[in-house]
């Protein structure tokens, strides 16, 4: 019986790959959890598109300030060295290629790194895009973290996305509850896979063709902070 990673374990796995000294924007959902698992030894500067650089953790009770929130509208704090700026400047950072990395959730990713994470085909829901497109095209590297398949078991890693795109050819690496997969010029390369799976098992849950890295390793379940990097 295989054990997919929990959301926390996925976040912890992504956290291993956040480099010391990097400027990072974390999307809403699992991406936001990533910060919890980045080792304290690494100094990472978190950016929020609503005009904050150097975000710290959630405030202690009694220290909440409704004027200090992140892009997910959660209350946050500011680290010493952090600063504020207006929205247009926040997007200069994003669109201008100044962020080292963004971690985003996704509905679908294609084998060429197309990203679909802003709109499903539900006609009753009004569309909402926020800053997703700016992040997708602007950050130097784009990591996606998501479940490997939908709740119904449909693959989310596809030859071609069926949902409307956020950006084309933008994703560098995909972290799922089953594997870590690089988007390369030669297609999707599996770097890590959970115990009990072989490439065929993973391929069954994946629409786009996969191949195995020469140094394929085990995707481990852990939520403790890990100083090693999978990059």
């Amino acid at each position: 019986m295989i054990q997919p990673l929990t959301r926390e374990q996925m976040a912890a796995r992504v956290a291993r790959d956040i480099p010391d000294g990097s400027y990072v924007n974390l999307g809403i959902g699992v991406p936001t959890l990533v910060a919890n698992y980045v080792p304290a030894e690494r100094e990472v500067i978190y950016h929020s598109e609503n005009g904050v650089l150097g975000m710290g953790p959630a405030p202690k009770p009694g220290e909440e300030d409704p004027d200090l929130i992140n892009a997910g509208k959660q209350l946050v704090t500011l680290l010493p060295g952090g600063c504020y700026f207006h929205h247009t400047d926040a997007f200069v950072m994003m669109r201008g290629g100044h962020l080292d990395l963004t971690v985003l959730g996704a509905f679908q990713v294609s084998e060429t790194g197309d990203l679909a994470n802003w709109m499903t085909s539900d006609q009753y829901l009004p569309p909402a895009v926020g800053g997703a497109m700016d992040l997708a095209i602007g950050a130097k590297r784009v990591f996606v973290v998501m479940e490997h398949t939908t709740r119904r078991g449909e693959p989310k890693i596809l030859k071609t996305c069926t949902y409307p795109l956020t950006g084309t050819g933008v994703v560098d690496r995909i972290y799922t509850d089953l594997a870590v997969i690089d988007v390369t010029d030669e297609g999707l390369v599996v770097r890590e896979m959970i115990d009990g799976f072989d490439l065929e098992d993973l391929q069954e849950q994946t629409d786009a063709p996969l191949r195995s890295a020469d140094d394929l390793s085990l995707l481990v379940h852990r939520t403790e902070v890990d100083l090693s990097s999978g990059l």
């Binding site: 598109e49 247009t88 669109r95 895009v129």
Partner: protein, 223 residues
């Protein structure tokens, strides 16, 4: 003498015309000029086009403008938030027009409006549904969309402190769209926590120079 202070919220929005395009600052709960929004509802404004990042949630400010039937169209990046019930109801009923703009493009289009530019080329949204109908151009091997400026007849903004020349400072992430919107409207109206004496704001730390501001009204530490 220059004195941009206005005594009441009612006075501040008294001449906002029906059919106007209104830029409204704020992201989530931070930086929304709640009191000005409600003054506008009290005035009975109709047929407005709102340019604002979210489409309101709950029953106050932007949501209240929607609920009160003041709004014909909304230009925003993220209308679907927790509690955006009034927008969703109007949207499903086909009673409101939506122009969805990626957040960075929304902000940059208003900046262009304030800066006197005729338009700009952005890579954002290239190859997506939101590029539909837009002119594209390849520049140095990359695809860009041509985007045009947005200007408002009025900007409603929440800031932290002001002086009688209209210089503004903001509070933390409540700064968000305020400084850009202030530049992009014919009439910029600002609610602030506190009005201070001329010279009290550090000239190195004024975020919106008064040249972009027409009226300031003190509301204290409002809701």
């Amino acid at each position: 003498m220059i004195d941009k202070r206005v005594a009441t919220l009612t006075q501040a929005v008294s001449d906002v015309k029906d059919g106007s395009t209104i830029l409204i600052s704020g992201f989530g709960i931070a930086g929304i000029p709640i009191d000005l929004c409600h003054a506008l509802i009290d005035r009975g404004a109709t047929d407005l086009t709102l340019v604002t990042n979210n489409a309101g949630s709950g029953h106050t400010d932007v949501a209240a403008l929607l609920k009160a039937g003041c709004v014909r169209k909304i230009v925003c990046s993220y209308p679907r938030s927790a509690g955006s019930i009034w927008f969703e109801e109007l949207y499903r009923a086909g009673k409101i027009e939506l122009e969805l703009v990626p957040q960075g493009t929304l902000s940059e289009r208003m900046r262009a409006g304030g800066a006197g530019l005729g338009g700009f080329y952005t890579p954002t949204a290239g190859g997506t549904l939101l590029a539909k109908g837009k002119e594209t151009r390849e520049i140095n091997g990359r695809e860009y969309l041509l985007e045009y400026p947005i200007r408002g007849d009025v900007a409603l903004i929440k800031a932290d402190r002001a002086d009688r020349w209209g210089n503004l400072t903001y509070s933390k992430s409540a700064r968000n769209f305020g400084p850009t919107m202030a530049t992009a409207a014919d009439l910029t109206i600002v609610q602030v926590r506190e009005i201070v004496e001329l010279g009290e704001l550090d000239p190195e730390c004024v975020i919106t120079p008064g040249i972009f501001v027409n009226r300031v009204v003190e509301v204290g530490a409002s809701s």
